[in-house]
């Protein structure tokens, strides 16, 4: 086993192509020969063929790469950390937040502010909950620390609105009550992605 093979023994298949650039011409005659060879080897037409082939692929092979963004969106990873979602309990539909204030404490950019009070049933309820998205760095600590999996990161990444408060009020982040059946359970911060198996590659062991 050669050294090259030994080094690559646990790595997936390699499909690198080595370019044969030939020798650097030394004399004038060599240079002339190189020019003649390059002129008549029709390499330029290979370039033309590649572009027209791709044009054919794009137009007739359905291989167009453009995503018409506002009309169609690419799927994002379930672990993507965008605007927060507040989840509800599936049975009662009540929000999960118990008002413990851990997210407010752990927030390193001090952007979560909340206020709680006791309601008529002596249950703690969230009277005030805002996240200042001008400050939030989307580190994900709040979701990680939440004991009830109440605050999670959702998939809303289009953060343009007319007012700063657009996303940050508790009711806006809360799952709408009629969409409760569509609520995605969050595996917890750092959980593997659903398609993790496909993404696994062999780890090179020896370097």
């Amino acid at each position: 086993m050669s050294l090259e093979q030994f080094k690559n023994r646990t790595v997936g298949t390699q499909v690198y192509k080595t370019l044969d650039l030939g020798e650097t011409p030394k004399s004038g005659m060599d240079r002339f020969k190189q020019v003649v060879k390059r002129t008549f080897s029709l390499e330029l037409f290979v370039g033309l063929w590649v572009t027209i082939r791709e044009m054919g692929n794009a137009l007739f092979g359905g291989n167009m790469h453009t995503v018409k963004y506002p009309f169609e969106k690419l799927p994002i990873s379930p672990r993507y950390r965008a605007i927060h979602d507040m989840l509800r309990l599936l049975e009662s539909g009540h929000y999960r937040c118990i008002g413990c204030g851990l997210c407010e404490k752990i927030c390193i950019s001090n952007c979560i502010s909340m206020d709680t009070r006791y309601d008529e049933n002596q249950r703690k309820e969230v009277s005030e909950y805002t996240i200042n998205f001008g400050r939030c760095i989307f580190c994900g600590y709040c979701a990680e620390v939440c004991p009830e999996l109440a605050i999670v990161h959702g998939g809303r990444y289009e953060n343009a609105s007319e007012q700063r408060a657009g996303f940050s009020i508790f009711e806006d982040m809360l799952t709408p009550i009629d969409k409760l059946n569509l609520q995605q359970e969050y595996d917890g911060f750092g959980a593997v992605t659903p398609n993790a198996d496909e993404n696994i590659k062999k780890t090179p062991l020896a370097y």
């Binding site: 370039g47 033309l48 794009a58 291989n63 453009t66 018409k68």
Partner: protein, 349 residues
């Protein structure tokens, strides 16, 4: 041969020529605008993108949007620029491009009918509109000369704008266009020797015998040389050093905005069309006026050359200025001269 053809045609009047000039101006300006749309679309497809899509069906009205933008943009003249020359320069590019088009056959000749739907057309009814606005018998030389005069547009623009990028752009104009002018002239000389005339009509008639009689089969080297030089003269991609964004910001057009920049643009596209027409007539047989579809054929040929220019832009990288000069003086010009000598020997023997 051509005298009999000419005798069959009605007399060319001044009114007909004026109408022809207006047609050329209108159609080629529109085509230049449409050319930008085609260019963006073709380049996009070759890079597997969609190109302009949102203004009108398939983005067709993008031309209108661009036109409105160009016309309404602020017209900036830099403080230290030589203002008169700065303002004249774009007009030179656009004007010479259209003057060059005045002596090439652009569309078939036709006669404006006297009556349409029973209504008599005043003034222009029954006027014969020729296919060539000014049928001089040295058409090729005139077109080449006019395209050479068009170099003053970028040259003056770069020199007058008090901008270092502009100066570099105009220096490149002088160097590149002057050099490739030589190759264009020499490469087209060999077909001229074979046909023995400088008139586009004679070229067309000499190749009237179908595909087999096209001059490209007799002069393949001259054809390739002319194409290369044509790309350099119209400032198209492998040789577009004048306004190469990556090197000299925008070269001679750095300080231009609005319609003045647009005139450079229209001139460049009109020149592309002119080169495509010359290549089609001189090497690919031109039009065939004996049947109606003959004119469709030359439009197809012109479209092919136009497409080739876009295609090449998508496929090939730029060359450096020194490579450009190397290619011109050390490769293309000797080949062109050898080609002429060989052609001469073959004609004499």
């Amino acid at each position: 041969m051509e005298t009999t053809l000419v005798e069959n045609l009605p007399e060319v009047t001044a009114l007909g020529v004026i109408i022809k000039a207006i047609i050329i101006l209108a159609v080629i300006s529109a085509l230049a605008g449409f050319g930008t749309y085609i260019e963006r679309k073709v380049l996009a497809f070759m890079q597997r993108r969609l190109g302009p899509m949102h203004v009108g069906p398939f983005g067709l009205l993008q031309i209108a949007a661009d036109g409105i933008k160009l016309f309404t943009k602020e017209d900036i003249v830099p403080q230290n620029a030589n203002k008169l020359i700065f303002k004249i320069a774009p007009a030179i590019t656009a004007a010479t491009a259209f003057i060059a088009l005045s002596s090439v056959p652009v569309f078939p000749d036709f006669t404006i009918p006297e009556m349409v739907f029973g209504v008599t057309i005043p003034l222009v009814g029954g006027v014969f509109v020729p296919s060539i606005a000014s049928d001089i018998n040295i058409g090729i030389l005139f077109v080449l000369g006019m395209m050479a005069a068009g170099l003053y547009g970028p040259l003056l623009a770069g020199m007058s704008q008090a901008n270092k990028w502009g100066i570099i752009g105009s220096a490149r104009t002088a160097v590149q266009f002057l050099s490739y002018e030589v190759v264009t002239g020499l490469s087209i000389l060999a077909p001229i020797m074979i046909v023995g005339s400088l008139s586009f009509v004679d070229f067309n008639n000499a190749q009237a015998g179908g595909i087999g009689s096209w001059l490209i089969w007799q002069q393949p080297v001259a054809f390739v040389l002319f194409l290369i030089a044509g790309f350099a003269e119209t400032n198209r991609t492998p040789f577009d050093l004048l306004e190469h964004e990556a090197e000299v910001v925008s070269g001679y057009a750095t300080e231009y905005s609005g319609m003045r920049w647009g005139m450079f643009f229209i001139g460049e596209y009109a020149n592309m069309i002119t080169v495509a027409i010359i290549a089609s007539i001189v090497f690919l047989g031109g039009y065939d006026s004996s049947y109606e579809l003959g004119w469709l054929m030359i439009i197809l040929k012109i479209s092919f050359f136009f497409f080739l220019m876009l295609w090449v832009r998508a496929a090939w990288p730029h060359v450096r200025p020194d490579q450009l000069m190397w290619l011109c003086w050390k490769v293309l010009m000797p080949i062109a001269v050898i080609n002429i000598v060989v052609t001469g020997i073959v004609i004499m023997v």
